[in-house]
Amino acid sequence: MTTPTPTTTATASAETLREPPPGAAAREPRRGTGRIRRAALPYLLLLPALVLELLVHLVPMAVGIVMSFRELTQFSIRDWGTAPWSGLGNYKVSVNFDAPVGKALLHSFLVTVGFTLLSVALCWLIGTAAAVFMQDAFRGRGLLRTLFLVPYALPVYAAVITWVFMFQHDNGLVNHVLHDQLHLTDQRSFWLIGDNSFYALLTVSVWKGWPFAFLIVTAGLQNIPRELYEAAALDGAGVWQQVRRITLPSLRPVNQVLVLVLFLWTFNDFNTPYVLFGKSAPAAADLISVHIYQASFVTWNFGTGSAMSVLLLLFLLVVTGGYLLITSRGRRPARG
């Protein structure tokens, strides 16, 4: 455990207070709080969070990694501690893009990347646009704000199943409007199977996700000092220019967090595709979370499923690390 004995922490924190490590010094000055000498306290405060994260996330993750090196099928799951080791076998199968399993995984991965990028971009765009448009008070703004939060507040299942109902081929609203009323299509389209399923998934994901972006950006807008706008207005900048020159740059720190969180959530989202398509999603909308679910739970190959998950985790770690590195580098000089 990371809770050291009281004596060692006491020295540790005494050292810290005298000579903060370079990493910590980057933060706001807090050496002034010399009174805080009960050095065990921060560890005690962290303990519950740490224990729970360890129990529910880290230990199972370790077990999952162990599983990924085993041949874990229906013949061995009953007593998986004795399942044969397969070395890197599961990984090899997963990344052999010439064979169908690897090919399907790669396809699913690419679909997921494309879907996530589009979904995050649209969520961000709509959320930001709505937040900016609603920055100025106008009649009905409060009502609209409330309305806009409804998709976020609806339970996932209720929201997605409503979309399933609307996307039905014969009886759905979408086809009714597009085909029966607007005559945009020659015949009714399929939304829950085939290629269109990608757009169906994207629509639902954006519908559910953009209010979160809206919320965060709305909040972020309130922190922009109004003097900036006044100064810009005096310089003769119009509304559009103010948005471009002040609003968007000021939102950078908010966006850094927002985009990352949206990305991770969308990428790992299981609930939406699962409720929308069930256990086997159409190829065009075969998101990786459901794909891995199918690999492990439906075809009972937990070893390969775990290996795929580990690969996914590595990918997300690299992306997140790279993202934070790039965005923070660009951010520091701006802050001065």
């Binding site: 229906q74 009953r78 007593d79 998986w80 085939g194 290629d195 086997s280 075809t299």
Partner: protein, 438 residues
């Protein structure tokens, strides 16, 4: 720095220790015990119109059992969407029910996990011996040559349900006996503005039952006799293509059915929008949707030519729900007594009547209660022209991969893309390569 490392090492060590304890899996308890002789947990599959209906059907029977034996049965009706996952996690952890329902098609797969109590001669003797059951029913409960992994509880077969009025309006005097006739009738029905035949195109399990029969009728099987997948044999490809062609070229199945996965085709039939339905034991389902028993007829599923029988004249998969005992049970004796109770003549009649299935127990099957025209068709199908689904350990993967392949082909057909021998073969090849090597 040193301390961070020490802390990290400690954390890793702890995780490994915890992970090691987790390694026990289900092995801690091996072969079942009689630790809690007064209770049983029973996972029932959802057989009725809803979970609430099942509870109403099973509740009184479980009370009877309690009166007879003093054993309290804790019933949980598990929805189909969750059942396999629940069984899997129970298998992995050893923490599960005492008695559970499993489908025919999963029997061999679950048998391979070793989590289910094998019904050897001694165990079978406790429930009256294997001769009480129809042989075909017992054959569908595990790999041939091994002790059954479960005991048949409800038997079901596919039949052709047809709407009498639509048939009369279209000038069709009797139900089609061959696929050729069905397609021809379909055209007449289509001309009257009704859909001919329903299908659950996006439901892998339904797809698999049908293409299995289509393959049988072409003298092919999805597996070689020694249990290896053989999905790309020409007859198999032809079978799958012919089934999808019912939508793609024959236009008997409306394209909208390609996205059906929640039994919408049954509703379509019950609401008189569609003339025919291939379904297993649909009677109580149709009644619950307000379709009166005399408004539809029931006939055997069509064959290629001739009449249903064995070999290439097979016209249904042998469907059924079986009762299995979980090896880790804490009430082995009670579980066995419960199986005996549920397969007793009296219970078989009550339960199979409620679910409009056929009792696999031969003495109960002979009862007058199962002599309706519908039951007669089902009974003769079960005894003469139904074949057991492949009883191989990888059956459940087969169901998923091939069922999904058919789903994709239906999606192609619905989108107006050509379904060719080549495209069918490609889908099946993909499915085959996803099968476990074993």
């Amino acid at each position: 720095m040193r301390r961070i490392r020490a802390g990290a090492t400690g954390a890793v060590a702890l995780s490994l220790a915890l992970a090691a304890t987790a390694c026990g899996g289900g092995s801690a308890t091996g072969g079942g015990s009689n630790d809690s002789p007064k209770t049983l947990t029973y996972w029932a599959s959802n057989q009725g119109a809803s979970i609430a209906v099942d509870q109403r059907v099973l509740g009184p029977e479980l009370d009877k059992f309690q009166k007879q034996t003093g054993i309290k049965v804790k019933l949980e009706v598990v929805p189909w969407s969750d059942l396999l996952n629940r069984i899997l996690t129970a298998t992995t952890s050893g923490q599960g029910p005492d008695v559970l329902n499993i489908g025919n098609t999963w029997s061999a797969s679950l048998q391979a996990t070793g989590a289910l109590l094998p019904w050897d001669a001694e165990n079978l003797a406790k429930i009256g011996g294997k001769d009480r059951f129809a042989a075909a029913a017992l054959d569908s409960t595990g790999v041939r040559g091994k002790d059954p992994a479960a005991i048949p509880l409800y038997s079901m077969a596919y039949a052709l349900y047809y709407n009498k009025k639509i048939f009369a309006d279209a000038g069709i005097s009797q139900p089609p006996a061959t696929w050729g006739e069905l397609v021809a009738d379909g055209k007449k029905i289509d001309a009257r503005g009704k859909a001919a035949l329903g299908a659950e195109g996006a439901n892998p399990s339904e797809n698999i039952h049908h293409v299995f029969v289509f393959a049988q009728q072409r003298g092919a099987a999805f597996f070689t006799p020694d249990g290896k997948p053989d999905f790309t044999a020409p007859q198999v490809v032809d079978a799958v293509k012919s089934y999808v062609d019912l939508m793609a070229t024959d236009k008997a199945i409306p394209t909208g059915d390609a996205e059906y996965a929640q039994n919408q085709s049954v509703s379509d039939f019950a609401k008189g929008r569609q003339a025919m339905l291939l379904w297993q034991s649909a009677a109580s389902n149709l009644t619950s949707q307000g379709m009166s028993a005399d408004s539809y007829g029931i006939a055997p599923v069509p064959v290629i030519s001739g009449t249903p029988g064995s070999g290439t004249q097979v016209d249904s998969a042998f469907m059924g729900i079986n009762l299995a005992v979980f090896k880790n049970t804490h009430n082995l004796d009670g579980a066995t007594r419960f199986v005996r109770f549920m397969t007793s003549d009296a219970e078989q009649k009550i339960l199979n009547k409620a679910y409009s299935s056929i009792p696999p127990v031969t003495s109960a099957q002979a009862d007058a209660a199962f002599a309706t025209p519908a039951d007669t068709v089902l009974k003769s199908t079960l005894s003469a022209s139904a074949a057991a689904m492949p009883q191989v350990p990888s059956e459940s993967q087969f169901e998923t991969t091939v069922g999904t392949a058919v789903k994709n082909l239906f999606a192609d057909a619905a989108a107006g893309r050509a379904v060719t021998t080549g495209s069918v073969k490609a889908e099946l090849e993909k499915a085959q390569q996803q099968m476990p090597a074993a």
